[in-house]
């Protein structure tokens, strides 16, 4: 049973709920269990297939006699595809488990069938995107993914907010898809000038050498398309709208893995098809990555909607991944395969990591939403007492995404740092001088991310309950949901402390794509030490960090508890201040206030306070309402003008159709005359 067969099997398993569930829709609970265990099994199969494919570097391709007769569907499983199969499968496995509990929680009115069908189609679409091996099939899979996720975003379609976000999402996704289509057109045309349809197969595109002008056109088009899907600033506006309103398990998949498919696309087209390119492509990617990273995290800090915050962090992390990719491209164009390998591995590793911890975090947010029916952090607090497990898992997610050792987020960011610091190897002084500044920006991003997740975790889980309905209603979520989160958390941990294994496993990607190897140096000193270039250059050992901290903590604890150490529980002291109410706590907004003050120029901030004038006592106003709106500037810079321009044009063009028949006759009259004059 080759990896490819397993992959096929997983596809069929994944599609089976689409047929099965409508049949047994009557038995709601059974349907839920059945469908999600099927998807879970399918995802697991995908993971296995991918893992094996990467492990043994097998390349298998097949042709399905569908589609256009001269252009049947081509499928191909190679290490790169395998890696992304792994990423997608792993997260969708966790999410599938989680969904069992989550979907049970839907109100009775909601159609489970509708959800399950699109859920399965969505994952299938992602798997197919990775497996597709010709332009036509790729785009079908791509749009299948987009459309099904669109319906999932619109799942609660009675809310205007959901409809609006879904619409925005679909439009941007579709425009991106057309751009990708055009770039395929460019490549297909060069691969085989449309004498037959063979030019559309990826095999042909791989085999072609492209003149730099056309290659650039293809790259820019496809990059635009993929960036639109990945939510790279400035094409990101749909992302913080669409991800929050979707059901949380879907948001987990969208943020965790759907964005990654566009990373896959960029890698595929750049390193696999075009292969040779000028360095400034990498420059573009790098710069956009940095911008997305910094602005993404800053916007995230301004949010008080938990899922929106997470969504903006996806923008940030995509940025980090792009930094790695950009570097890899730059290094490649300067013929430095070893360094390119480092950068590429960093990027892909972060892809994997982000999938894990972002999935985990969204599942956590979903659990909170499930328990409190609340997305607004200002209405939360103290949940750690009611939902201890969720709290732990969410904390793990926070630590990972804040890039703190010994968890996984740190490893990939550290590798990225290393890649950035290798800039002196470039033959262009200016580049080698500018790129370390990028490192500084990355550092800023990391620190801000830490701040943001202190806020997220602190406001949501710590302190006192700020909500209006009593906290006693809030219950810990059920076993399946916890199970899903637990597994994700565990993976985050192991990816953090055993990086060398992962890197040796995925080293073949670097070898195939940029022709450099990392494992030899990275694992040179055994699995314990991660030494990407050389031990003298840099080294890190997540395992040691973990072990060291654990040992010291345990020792200290034992020493201090050698004799019975009593703890007295008392009311809060707070410098002796009394009558402390939950409303006096720092809120999400107030927590971010200093940063808002400092980076205010990046946002469009509207602050208003209206005071109900004093009545009872001249000194004390009756009420004081404070309203704060922080908006994304890009909306006003980019999207509003475009929309207005479109409507303006529409109005002007509408005047053509102005009702009087004489005028219409004049049109055709003039048309004839003109044509006769020019052609007669």
């Amino acid at each position: 049973m080759t990896p490819f067969d397993i992959a096929m099997a997983s596809l069929f398993l994944m599609l089976s709920p689409v047929i099965l569930v409508p049949c047994c829709a009557r038995y709601r609970s059974f349907a839920i269990h059945l469908s999600f265990s099927l998807t879970a099994a399918a995802s697991l199969a995908a993971v296995i297939a991918g893992a094996l494919a990467v492990q043994y570097g097998t390349i298998t391709s097949a042709v399905v006699e569908m589609g256009l007769p001269d252009l049947p569907f081509h499928l191909r499983l190679d290490p790169l595809a395998g890696f992304f199969l792994c990423v997608i499968g792993l997260l969708s496995f966790f999410v599938s488990l989680y969904s069992i509990g989550y979907v049970k929680g839907f109100p009775a009115g909601r159609s489970v069938v509708r959800f399950v069908v699109f859920f399965a189609l969505f994952i299938t679409g992602m798997l197919l995107v990775v497996l597709a091996d010709d332009a036509f099939f790729f785009l079908i899979a791509w749009e299948l993914m987009a459309a099904s996720s669109y319906f999932l975003v619109m799942f609660e379609d009675e809310k205007a907010e959901n409809r609006r976000s879904a619409y925005l999402y679909l439009v941007i996704a579709h425009v991106g898809a057309i751009a990708i289509l055009l770039s395929f057109g460019v490549m297909a045309g060069l691969a085989n000038g449309f004498a037959s349809f063979q030019g559309y197969t990826f095999a042909a595109m791989r085999a072609t050498a492209y003149p730099v002008g056309w290659a650039t056109a293809a790259f820019l088009l496809s990059f635009f398309g993929f960036a639109a899907k990945a939510g790279v600033i400035p094409l990101h506006v749909w992302l913080p709208e669409a991800h929050p309103v979707a059901p949380s398990n879907v948001s987990a998949l969208m943020s965790g893995v759907m964005l990654k498919t566009s990373i896959y696309g960029i890698v595929r087209i750049t390193f696999d098809f075009l292969k040779v390119f000028p360095w400034w492509w990498g420059g573009i990617v790098l710069v956009l990555g940095l911008v997305s990273a910094v602005l993404g995290v800053l916007y995230a800090l301004m949010q008080h909607d938990l899922k929106r915050l997470l969504a903006y962090h996806s923008v940030e992390n995509i940025g980090i991944i792009l930094i790695g990719l950009g570097l890899a491209m730059i290094f490649t164009s300067f013929q430095l395969p070893a360094l390119a390998a480092l950068a590429l591995i960093a990027a892909l590793y972060h892809t994997l990591n982000h999938a894990m911890f972002k999935g985990l975090l969204f599942m956590g947010a979903g659990a909170v939403l499930h328990a409190t029916h609340e997305r607004n952090m200002e209405e939360m607090g103290g949940l750690i007492h009611r939902m201890p497990w969720t709290a732990v898992f969410f904390l793990v997610g926070c630590i990972s995404i804040a890039a703190l050792p010994p968890f996984n987020g740190f490893v990939s960011e550290w590798l990225t740092f290393q890649a950035l610091l290798l800039s002196p190897a470039l033959h262009r002084p200016i580049l080698s001088l500018l790129i370390p500044l990028g490192a500084a920006l990355l550092a800023l991003t990391g620190a801000l991310a830490a701040a943001c997740f202190v806020k997220a975790f602190g406001v949501t889980f710590l302190g006192h309950w700020r909500g209006h309905h009593p906290i006693q209603k809030v219950q810990e979520v059920d076993a399946t949901m916890r199970g899903g989160m637990l597994l994700a958390a565990a993976v985050c941990f192991f990816l953090g402390i055993l990086p060398t294994h992962v890197i040796t496993w995925m080293d073949i990607l670097a070898e195939r794509l940029v022709g450099g190897k990392l494992a030899a140096s990275a694992g040179a000193y055994g699995w314990l030490w991660l030494t990407p270039i050389a031990r003298e250059r840099a080294s890190y050992s997540g395992f040691n960090v973990f072990l060291g901290i654990a040992v010291v903590v345990v020792v200290a604890w034992l020493l201090l508890h050698a004799r019975k150490a009593d703890i007295r529980r008392v009311p809060i002291w707070d410098c002796g201040f009394e009558k402390l109410t939950p409303r006096m706590q720092y809120t999400a907004t107030s927590f971010a206030m200093p940063i808002r003050r400092i980076f205010g120029f990046l946002f469009r901030i509207r602050e208003e306070t209206d005071v109900v004038p004093p009545v009872r006592h001249p000194a004390y106003p009756e009420r004081l309402r404070y309203r704060l709106r922080v908006r994304d500037r890009f909306w006003y810079w980019l999207y509003q003008p475009v929309g207005e321009a479109a409507f303006f044009t529409a109005r002007k063009i509408g005047n053509l159709q102005q009702g009087r028949i004489q005028v219409y006759l004049i049109y055709s009259f003039v048309t004839i005359i003109v044509l006769l004059v020019f052609l007669g």
Partner: protein, 221 residues
């Protein structure tokens, strides 16, 4: 009758058709338009017959008869009946700036001559020179439809345009194949009935045949 003579008659007819076309362009009174139109049909029929006679292409006689019956008798009669019925005979239509229209008409004639000149060189037919006139008539018919905003006059313009086409068919080529001729005639007949019906509908719904008021369907503002 020698060919050259026939050709001369034919060109005379062409000239007359052109003249009537201009007449239609500037005529104000609807009945006057009807008469002019009938005349045009007559000239058309005659020229068709002549061509048929000269060239011995016999189905041209048929089509000439068709023309005479349809364009000289039937259609004018239908229109006349309608006008009577809807009692709009008195109606005098205001035209937009006649001199300008005439100038445009002249320009169109020149233009169509310029266009057809190279083609007529190719042809060996006696009637070839009249192709320009045919095209001009088509153009003038179109122009008339543009400038008039009364349903009946628009229809007359349309029919004049059709006359131009017929003339083209007979002059540029010795008539289209029989099937086509018949088909066209049939279509024309149906068309006649349809606009007949239309006049009623328009008149009843808008209680006048002025097409100006039919401008509800348009975009936005």
């Amino acid at each position: 009758m020698p060919v050259s003579f026939a050709a001369q008659i034919n060109s005379v007819m062409a000239a007359l058709i052109l003249l009537t076309a201009f007449g239609l362009l500037i005529q104000r009174r609807i009945l006057g338009l009807l008469h002019l139109f009938a005349w045009q049909g007559l000239f058309l029929g005659i020229s068709t017959a002549i061509v048929g006679y000269v060239t011995g292409v016999h189905h041209l006689f048929v089509s000439s008869i068709l023309t005479l019956t349809l364009k000289v008798v039937l259609l004018p009669w239908i229109l006349y009946a309608l006008i009577r019925k809807l009692n709009i005979r008195k109606e005098i239509e205001t035209l937009v700036n006649i001199p300008a229209t005439m100038l445009i008409g002249i320009a169109l004639v020149i233009f169509s001559y310029h266009l057809t000149a190279p083609i007529t060189q190719l042809s060996s037919l006696v009637t070839r020179s009249t192709l320009a006139v045919a095209l001009a008539t088509v153009m003038l018919g179109l122009l008339m439809m543009v400038t008039r905003h009364h349903a009946v006059t628009q229809i007359i313009g349309f029919l004049a345009l059709e006359n131009g086409l017929f003339f083209a068919a007979t002059s540029a080529t010795y008539g289209m194949p029989m099937v086509v001729e018949l088909g066209v005639a049939l279509d024309l007949l149906i068309a006649a009935f349809i606009f007949g019906i239309f006049f009623f509908h328009i008149n009843t719904t808008f209680d006048s045949l002025d097409v100006e008021q039919m401008a509800k369907l348009k975009e936005g503002d």
